[in-house]
Symmetry: C2
Subunit: 892 residues, 2 copies
């Protein structure tokens, strides 16, 4: 190794613990702890630079590296007073991987290195415990054999069993036999098991470097998006061995500085007396809770508590610490930032702020917004280990248990009786929505995240799993099968988890959400910090109440068609669609208007003057009629039934069937819907606009503040918008005239059709505000029907990396984002201060919120249930985007 | 009228005949003819300015206008020697409308004005024919009564019949009775019939001005897109009456300077002896052909021939001339540019060029490209007046008669026996295509211009009417009904006209297309003139031959899936989709490869080194499987049949049904198709690319020049394209290696997904060329599914003017066009000379071709059958876009 090359090896006491890129996480932690004066065994780090060189040289250790290693080992010898390969007092080391980014368990580690037939006897003599030494030796051979020589691990396990060995209960003779068979298993690979400790360490270092590109490691990095600029190789740490298995005064364990489940400020972890680290990790033995240590080894416990406090004070994050006690003496082998549950993350962040450890900005940045879902919905108790029977698409978060019911009417009736019901269907229609209200969860075998069931359930905040195609509902609809075998019959209990898509055929315990005071504090700070307004997608007064509770600043999307999704209303709507005379239609519309008006009044009242954006009818009319197959089936049944009454019922169905066929479409997503329906059937939009105006007028006269926005969906051309605006102005004028008041109602356009982006300047002349509907815009921009894509090719695309991120989850910034930027620019050229927002599901996605903030949107509107996530994400975006304005916060 | 205002009235001999805007078409023509010394009766014109003032003043004649009229009438009196209102020698005039743009019959005209109970006697004495005078008077009262006083015309007709009056056969007494009843019909309106001729003329002028905003006129202008800048009012011409009904030496008629049907250079027209103009127009009498005039009135005929020659020489366009012969003296009452058939337009333009009347540029500009469809396809003989039984969507031009057949297999069998068959179906599937080949025309009751039937028929150039929803096919499929009554049973003859959408229940005579030498000459000139290359959409060697014949410069779109649309192939393709083992699939693919290769070879050979762009598979796989309903029906039938064989057949169908359901999609237009299939089932694209390479290699070795382009459909992301490029390079390299030659095959992308426009720079790095697929791009940009839109709301939108032009017919320049311009700009920034074209149906639309030329596309690709239209349109675009470069042409 030429001297021109950077230093390849650092001892813990000479390395810069901040330089994780060079030292790897493990090495950096050890160096940092050494500097803090904590009891770390001595050792050194071979840098990640060397790993890079290893690969540059075609997987060969750089020339001269082993000379440096030998030098370092000699220094280790002088520190420990032991000698590498010495038959009397042998130095043993561990050789571990450690990348700049944590990849737990993904790369290789070898312990007890330095043992051979001679040194094992020295270790036995030194420790006075031959069984311990032999056990250490057999462990070493097994690890080395497997990792370096490529021997089959199952053969080792077989040999253990064959020789009657289990943990902590084996006699010397058996151990010696095992060692003999282990060594011959190694020889069987055709490679020699080296007795020379320097050969051992050389091969071990080589193996650790190789494990960087092992299958598991590569897959892990792909999965977690770890790119070369984040971590370009692993470091190798070589540490003098300490032993937790040297008797009853020895132990090994893992401790969290605070409880990673709850955030409670109290040590949390497990340990095993007289054991080596891998015994804790492997789960072979039953460890004790760390509380036990206080009575079992009070001094060590005290020392460990102090170490933890010191580590927290230093790193200002909860730590996950590995320790070993060797004959009463505590050693710290590793520390890293603890992975915590969302609740713990919230609590510890707020606590640490109040303890003065961190400031508010740090506290906010520490919490994963997506993780908050765990807190906001009921979840499966993490202690339960139950195997799911099937997994579908996680469509609406939260977990629920209930009675499996396959029939809509039955589900509704049972729900009304107070029973907990999970509705199971192939797919659902607006007709089924009354049953949704009465169910605790919905499971379908078809459809994706935009299927009817998914969208409605999310709107209601009910757990929902869709597209669970492993499940087959039997034709009689009284059970479902998985892999050809009946798994659940009607009436049995099942559990679904809409956060993971899992389905269980038993009742699984769930944990209810809880809004803690710390959580409220985080929301409070976030609201102060964020640079974009947060509104809610809310269609009902209940949803509006929830949104307000979480701090929404208005309603950005109120889907009027959702209001039709109740039994009495859907019947009215069907009547309206089926009306044969103007009179019949007018009558149905008048009744619908009365209902919509009362809904709007309730929502306006709840929002007390905060803006409420009402979207006019969007879905195609055929969504409100029964399905063709169902009608055909009913007609068939009535036919075979016969009789006078059946005859007349049949004729009714046949008429409806004709209408259903008339309205049916090949590509309903691109069909007769939204403003296209509003223009061809103007009486529907007129009715809705009138309901808004009347509701606003009534409340205004009662002294309630109302700020309403009416929004037109699916606009492609300015003429469409102008046509509806004309209608709006005339209805509003009329209402103002009748009530003799001025109404504060503005008029705007959804931007969800590509063309509306391209002519945003024209649209801006006619609209008072714009709101992006990025669900539909994404579908049109990609020519992907979300339901078809997510069921067919999109999973494949994501797996193969053809598309990096699902564009329906996070805004596609290059494509859809470009259209959004164009739109904003063109629209604001026409009206400088035009309000532009986004509704639709991207409004609740943290990455999308950051993008929306950056391109200058006024607000994002997210599902009521996701408002806290959106508020936190908005605060984080503000922090990242605008560090300079943070002074107040940083010192607050 | 103040003197500061422009001159309100011009006499024919003082007006500028070029100023149609001021004088209207009729007035300008009369002025021009007067200047040419042609025998025009004297008269004057009230300008369109006055019409505008009339409307500005709230439909009131401007002050002072009648003074000017009186002055002009006095001048007319002095020219004619007659006197307005004189009981002895009365001057009679016609008062006619005449707008700057021809609107034949849409506004009002009054003849014989000046008659009353006194002057009629003078006319009788003057003419020596009391019956003539009384007839003129009753005609005047009728016209005046109807137009000015608003009397009900049917009452006049009743009165005529009641008094036993018919043309040219009525006695004086009857006429006097009629006049009396006519006058009382006028009085019945509550308005007075004025006897004062000046009151008459005042009211007549007022009525003509009013007729400018009459319902018919407004509708006509909307229909033909006549905007205020093209014509902002009508002029009024007042002409001294001449009479064609003054005896056997008088006549009236209409003559075309050349035959407007054929273009033959020979007078063409009709006349009536002893009649007034309206008799010819109304069709009440049977006129004689103009040839007759030569023997009947040789001198007049000679004079008329000279007049026609003079008019043609002057206007350099065929003229449509109205004339009257009054007692042997010829008068010309009107001339205008003749409306001609497409064939006549081609012939006369070429003839006039050879006669030295016009240059090539003028000749080219004179022909309506769209009109050429008439020449290129068989058409219904224009002399046939047959009422259609129903009208559907005109989906593929041309007319055809044949035997109505409702069953696909039957149609195929009968066609193979040489019978002329029209296939009638609700809709069609690829399965049905073999029957298309054997039919002379296709009629469906569902779908729009992009339905399967429409697209396939257009590709084959076969007449097709789709979406003919008035027709209901009976469930047994042996007849169809219209309005509940059986209209056609299987085996009967029917005729369809794919140019108009009309369906006839009889055999209607059709005219075969004929490519004349003049037509070839026009194509030749166009090819020299145009500034963009024209390629053809051609999927078969036959279509390629046709394209070459018309002068296509390559194939811009060869849809490989069309090649699967034959019985043997579709079965193979189905086998491939249904394959359960890798082996089965490989076998089917190998067979398909062999067939595709031979198709490609045939097409390459035909195109002799001209570029051929091959698009890889585009439609979703389910298009190649039977329909769900059909399978269900078959299974049902097999079930009731029973038996061993039926059982096994049933199982097969059930398996297929499962696959059909698995592949079914909610929005197939946005589903699993194009490159998405190519990536998830790579073996399909590999097979197709290999077939292209092998075909090219074979031919290259045979010495045939091949220039091929492979094109990927539905690309949304650069990674998709890169994935297929990788496949392409490897297959090509392999073929080159195997055959030891270099292949000239380039690789490009369709641009038909919005996102591909937004990331065109990225795409350009991976593509050698780009080709816009504006059909799909338009659907995605508007979020309109064409099939659904054209069946549902688009007709309504077009009718109400929400959308001015169907964006599927002509490129939406503001929206889709903007995406295209962005794409071109971004792509050429990456590759300066990148070839960019357009395929899809807009490639054959003249307006779209002009747009494509303007934005710098290299070529447009149109259906083989529309190549002549595209070439002519391209030439016209070049002329409009680039007048300065025309010098050679202008003098050539």
């Amino acid at each position: 190794m030429s001297s021109a090359i950077a230093k390849p090896i650092y001892f813990f006491d000479e390395a810069d613990g901040k330089n994780r890129a060079l030292l790897g996480g493990k090495g950096a932690g050890l160096a940092e702890m050494t500097k803090l004066g904590l009891p770390v065994p001595p050792g050194f780090i071979i840098t990640t630079d060397i790993c890079e060189k290893f690969y540059e040289a075609g997987k060969r250790l750089p020339d001269g590296l082993m000379d440096e290693v030998r030098k370092s080992v000699r220094r280790l010898e002088s520190i420990t007073g032991k000698k590498f390969g010495d038959a009397k007092n042998p130095l043993l080391v561990s050789v571990r991987s450690g990348a700049p980014v944590s990849m737990p368990g993904m790369m290789d580690t070898i312990l007890n290195l330095g043992l051979n037939d001679q040194t094992v006897e020295g270790l036995a003599a030194q420790s006075g415990d031959a069984r311990f030494a032999l056990d250490a030796y057999r462990r070493f051979i097994q690890m080395f054999g497997k990792i370096v020589l490529g021997a089959d691990d199952r053969q080792f396990e077989k040999a253990l069993v064959g020789n009657g060995i289990n943990n902590n209960s084996s006699d010397e003779k058996a151990l010696r036999q095992v060692i003999a068979s282990f060594r011959s298993l190694c020889e069987a690979t055709g490679k020699r098991f080296p007795d020379d400790p320097y050969k051992q360490i050389e091969l071990a270092i080589d193996a650790v470097f190789r494990s960087w590109t092992g299958k598991r490691a590569v897959e892990y990095r792909r999965q977690y998006g770890i790119t070369p600029d984040m971590a370009n190789g692993t470091a190798v740490t070589v540490v003098a061995m300490v032993f937790g298995n040297m008797g009853r005064d020895s132990a090994t364990g893992v401790v969290f500085t605070r409880n990673p489940e709850t955030g409670e400020k109290k040590l949390y972890g497990d340990y095993l007396v007289n054991a080596q680290g891998e015994d804790v990790v492997s789960g072979k033995a039953n460890p004790s809770h760390i509380d036990q240590l206080e009575s079992e080894m009070p001094q060590v416990f005290g020392q460990l508590s102090q170490v933890c406090q010191k580590l927290e004070n230093h790193f200002r994050e909860c730590q996950d610490v590995e320790f070993t006690v060797e004959r009463g003496r505590l050693y710290i082998l590793q520390t890293r930032t603890a992975k915590m549950s969302a609740g713990a993350s919230v609590k510890t962040s707020v606590d640490m702020y109040h303890e003065g450890l961190i400031n508010k900005v740090e506290a906010l940045q520490r919490i994963d917004p997506e993780g908050l879902e765990q807190i906001l919905y009921p979840r499966i108790d993490s202690h339960v280990k139950q195997k799911p029977v099937a997994t579908g698409v996680a469509a609406s978060p939260g977990a629920a248990s209930g009675i499996a019911v396959f029939d809509v009417a039955k589900a509704e009736a049972m729900g009304k009786r107070g029973e907990k019901v999970i509705l199971i269907r192939e797919d659902t229609k607006p007709d089924d929505v009354p049953a949704f209200f009465q169910s605790v969860g919905i499971l379908t075998t078809r459809g994706g995240k935009t299927s009817h069931a998914a969208v409605v359930a999310r709107g209601m905040g009910k757990p929902c799993v869709v597209g669970c195609s492993q499940i087959e509902i039997d034709p009689e609809g009284a059970s479902f099968s998985v892999a050809g075998r009946v798994a659940v019959s009607e009436g049995q209990k099942i559990t679904i988890d809409g956060s993971t898509g899992r389905v269980y055929t038993v009742e699984v315990p769930t944990v209810a959400p809880e809004i803690t005071s710390e959580f409220k504090e985080i929301l409070q700070w976030s609201a102060e910090m964020k640079a974009i307004r947060i509104r809610a997608n809310a269609d009902t007064p209940e949803s509006a109440t929830l949104a307000r509770k979480y701090g929404a600043e208005g309603i950005g999307l109120c889907r009027t068609e959702r209001m039709f999704n109740q039994h009495d209303r859907i019947a009215l709507f069907t009547k309206m669609v089926m009306a044969e005379t103007e009179q019949e239609r007018e009558k149905a519309l008048a009744e619908l208007e009365r209902l919509q008006k009362s809904d709007f009044k309730a929502i306006f009242k709840e929002m007390q003057g905060l803006p409420v954006t009402i979207r006019l009818l969007d879905p195609p009319l055929h969504e409100f009629l029964p399905k063709e197959e169902d009608l055909m089936m009913q007609i068939f049944e009535l036919k075979s039934e016969g009789g006078h009454k059946a005859e007349s019922e049949m004729l009714k169905r046949e008429k409806m069937l004709r209408r259903v066929r008339e309205l049916s479409e090949i590509n309903p997503m691109l069909g007769h819907r939204g403003v296209r329906v509003g223009i061809t059937f103007p009486e529907i939009y007129e009715m809705q606009i009138r309901a808004v105006c009347e509701a606003a007028a009534d409340l205004t006269k009662e002294g309630v503040k109302v700020e309403s926005q009416i929004m037109v969906p699916q606009v492609a051309t300015v003429n469409e918008l102008a046509t509806v605006r004309h209608m709006f102005e005339s209805v509003k004028r009329d209402a103002e005239h009748r009530h003799k008041i001025k109404l504060k109602i503005v008029f705007g356009s959804m931007i969800e059709v590509v063309r509306s982006c391209l002519v945003a300047d024209e649209i801006a002349h006619v609209a008072d505000f714009l709101s992006f509907g990025t669900n539909d815009l994404t579908q049109a921009t990609f020519s992907f029907s979300r339901e078809d894509a997510e069921g067919k090719f999109l999973p494949f695309y994501l797996e193969k990396g053809v598309i990096a991120v699902n564009p329906f989850q996070s805004i596609d910034q290059k494509g859809v984002g470009r259209l959004m930027k164009m739109t904003i620019e063109m629209a604001r050229k026409v009206k400088k201060d035009m309000e532009i927002g986004i509704c639709g599901e991207h409004g609740g996605d943290p990455k999308s919120i950051e993008f929306c903030t950056a391109i200058g949107l006024d607000y994002v509107s997210a599902s009521s249930h996701r408002i806290p996530i959106a508020i936190l994400a908005a605060a984080q975006s503000a922090i990242r985007g605008n560090k300079s304005k943070l002074s107040r916060f940083l010192t607050d």
